[in-house]
Amino acid sequence: MSISHTLLGLLESGPRHGYDLKRAFDERFGHDRPLHYGQVYSTMSRLLKNGLIEVDGVEAGGGPERKRYAITDAGVTDVAEWLARPEKPEPYLQSVLYTKVVLALLTERDAAELLDTQRAEHLRLMRDLTRRKKDGDLADQLICDHALFHLEADLRWLELTAARLDKLAKEVRR
């Protein structure tokens, strides 16, 4: 999963401090693997350098200064391009797809379109594998079958998620 795009997408829904950003990430996407603070700050400094975010304000407190980050127009474009670009179909894609769907809903983009784009990409690969299987030997057939069954599982997930988008949107925007 692209952590920088995910953090950028979270910033699109409103400016946040690094700590809030880590908390929002962990709550939504980091159940198994919460982010380290170091990852958040190193990502923020890279995004700042690339002009995708800016410092929106600095609060002086008892400890170190707390910077509040906001997404720039270039950052919004970057998120939009990432969400619109289908992922290369491969096994165990669900975490990145889930992240994209949630971020699309959070930023009020068309999550159904995102799912359709990914679905079309999956079926394209399934067609290629089906052709390869037909022309191949038994080893080819078995290897292609393994990939096809995984892609089929992903596609089922895409369909089920499409059917549950309204419900998910309500939860995400709560």
Partner: protein
Amino acid sequence: MTTPTATGALLSAHDLHKTYGSTPALAGADFQIHAGEVVAVMGPSGSGKSTLLHCLAGIVPPDSGTVRYKDRDLSAMADAGRSALRRSEFGFVFQFGQLVPELTCTENVALPLRLVGVHRKEANARAREWLERLEVDDVHDHRPGQVSGGQGQRVAIARALVGNPGVIFADEPTGALDSLNGERVMELLTDAARDTRAAVVLVTHESRVAAYSDREVVVRDGKARDMAGVG
């Protein structure tokens, strides 16, 4: 929307609406298929995909909208005209229950030819050719109750193809088969259709079956979306 005739489509539908009681099954569906093309029609249960197939095949008339096959407007034809067109130009494969139990496999396959007046000897000879091609000639004199699900489905495909149809409508043709049999049935169906330049409208909810198609159309809420240009 480009008009169907302008695109050279073999079979096309434009702005189809169909309501059963107060339930809308189709709400402005468009569809096109060209000769020799295999198009998968997918979508959740109740989305309208079977209704779309029934309207395209002239089995039920739409409430509004047009269906054209070659230069003929199915939506303007009477029941008898549509039945005649179905017998001479379309072939059908369903999930199960489509073979006549009292007839042998050869007689089942020969049936569409007999219905359009082909002599019995010739009809049976052509039926045997198709049974051979679909690898089930060994059960030619069996009745449907004596053959396996996979064999029965191949016999059904032979029957759909024997009249050299322009379009084959297949509604979940592998739904009752295991993976290996389903796969072989799809290979045989799509190979035979491509060889004879028949178009195949393939309704399925299985993506591995849809992967045998050239493109897919997704039906949702009574509308059909062509996925070829998506992504």
